[in-house]
Symmetry: C2
Subunit: 367 residues, 2 copies
Amino acid sequence: MRFSIPRNEFLTRLESVSTAVASKTVKPILSGILFRTAEDSKLELIATDLETSIKTYVQPSEISGTGQFVVDAKVLLEIMRNLPDGKVFFEFQDTNLVIRMEKSRFVLPTMSGEEFPEVEPAQGGWELETSVTALEIMIDRVLFCAAKDEFMRNLNGVYWELEGGYLRLVAADGFRLALAEEKTNQNLEDHFLLTLKSMKDLQSSIKTAGSDDMKIVYDGTRVGFYFDGTEMVARVVEADFPDYKKVLPKAFKTRVVANTSSLSDAIRRASIAARLGSDSIKIEIKEDNMKLIAKSPDHGESSEELEIKKDGEDLIIAFNPKFLLEATKKIDTEEVELNFVDSNSPLQMNPVDVEGYLYIIMPIRLI
Amino acid sequence: MRFSIPRNEFLTRLESVSTAVASKTVKPILSGILFRTAEDSKLELIATDLETSIKTYVQPSEISGTGQFVVDAKVLLEIMRNLPDGKVFFEFQDTNLVIRMEKSRFVLPTMSGEEFPEVEPAQGGWELETSVTALEIMIDRVLFCAAKDEFMRNLNGVYWELEGGYLRLVAADGFRLALAEEKTNQNLEDHFLLTLKSMKDLQSSIKTAGSDDMKIVYDGTRVGFYFDGTEMVARVVEADFPDYKKVLPKAFKTRVVANTSSLSDAIRRASIAARLGSDSIKIEIKEDNMKLIAKSPDHGESSEELEIKKDGEDLIIAFNPKFLLEATKKIDTEEVELNFVDSNSPLQMNPVDVEGYLYIIMPIRLI
């Protein structure tokens, strides 16, 4: 089996598929990528960590013979990244893959394609049409709020919810929550939870998508994402995401509108003492003024004042400044809205006059 | 004591002086910067880790009162980096430093200026005039070859040698050696050894120099570097640098000239199997051809061929590819010269037709 393919085109596909390769594994074959001849002179590339799998196709310039083999993803990527663009020649013979380009030559050991775990596609269930770009934006808006700790199984991922004609992504880590939604043109009602690893794989692999069409298929245990000739299948987490709607505040007593970048600068500077010390920033809202202040015994005091537009009551409340800052950075409107209930209730931060995403941040109790 | 100063100007000086601040220290005062009113309405800034010290001056827009205080370098840098350009107001009262700019306000605790260790300047001895740019280039050419291990006292730094009208820097780690020299207009004969930390401090602090004049003063135990109103004083290491001249090959049997970037690309690709595995690359020089090859049981084989100009004998020799690659990256001429004695002797790599710097790399014994 031989084939040749332009390096840049091949590298894009290789990078997309290799996001699913297991990073730490006791099964060596999972650190590899399966190559298999397919219909129409195409070549199938598959990677999996048994939880997420990605399959894509490349169209070689020339191909002869049929067969399959598994080759270490890291070495192959390293080679491809170090070659210039141009036609690369591959030859699979006995148990070796020989790669040539001009005066460069590589001989890689391979593993048997037959031992590569076959991943079942998501079958039956519903299908949803959406857009790669829309999904990319939603993932970016929520992913940073997911719990990083793998042992928090129900929070270490993103909750997908289809409801009332919307596709909604929700992530939370116990201190904050992010929600992003998009209208769909189907009226599906369902939900599932994907791990942070699956979400990151999805995020990386859709980055290289050359077209915007995306189809999502869910069969109750697996979700399939189909885009630009690539399919990613992720196993859903068997754990219950908390009832996030309980956390969403229903009525507010103080509504503040501020310039997003001024607020972000103010938080960044006012939290200098907090970042180096106590991890808490106090916010005092009084008339049309917001004062942000952090203190630490070793690093002194940092404070900022900010002009705001305010409706409702004055308020004193405290937060972990990192959570405020990370949420502010994702707000892409000129103005941001901060909605408060009281000093002990969560803050809702959202863009002004734009629906579709919001952040909930738990306050720190004032002593 | 009060003063005000434009933020950008102040930050440049602050970054230059803070390179000498002790990173890990049991004496809290060494993590600070001493501010002291000086002559001509200037302000002196000093930092030291007891081994290296840097003193510089800033010219405030306004200043009133006299005094001195020590303030934590990390907090101050964090504040300055987060403020926009514009006039910053400082007020030292009681034991606090208050910093204001528009609606930002910071109160920092200070330490007593009197407890700050006074650093003796290098006095007496010789003085040498040189250029900041020339020194910067020389440091860049040798520093990466210094041993990283602090316990290798005589190699964990850079050897300075004045000889025959040249200023020479030499660094070595037991596997390779770098040498860079510049003509001086004085005929001094002397040498000293500076730690890697002192060298890195020097490298960082001269980066911000606004003028090219540099004066070096050496009094037998301390070296002073004077540039652009800044003075850095470094204690010399009391250890003997090995007799490096013994390592420099005297006569060569094979001389190879190659295109520098082609050689660098070839090493990078041919060493893929080595980098992921055995850390050894074999070079076969035969007529006008150089073959580079690396093998690893798990990662296969990577090889390259390169056209070269050769004088002398054919040769087979092996190296750690990292050492070859790092040296090649510093060669800034189009062509590079590789001078070999035999398979078991060090390689000398140097630019073609440019005097002033060279690399010596020990081979790995072929099995």
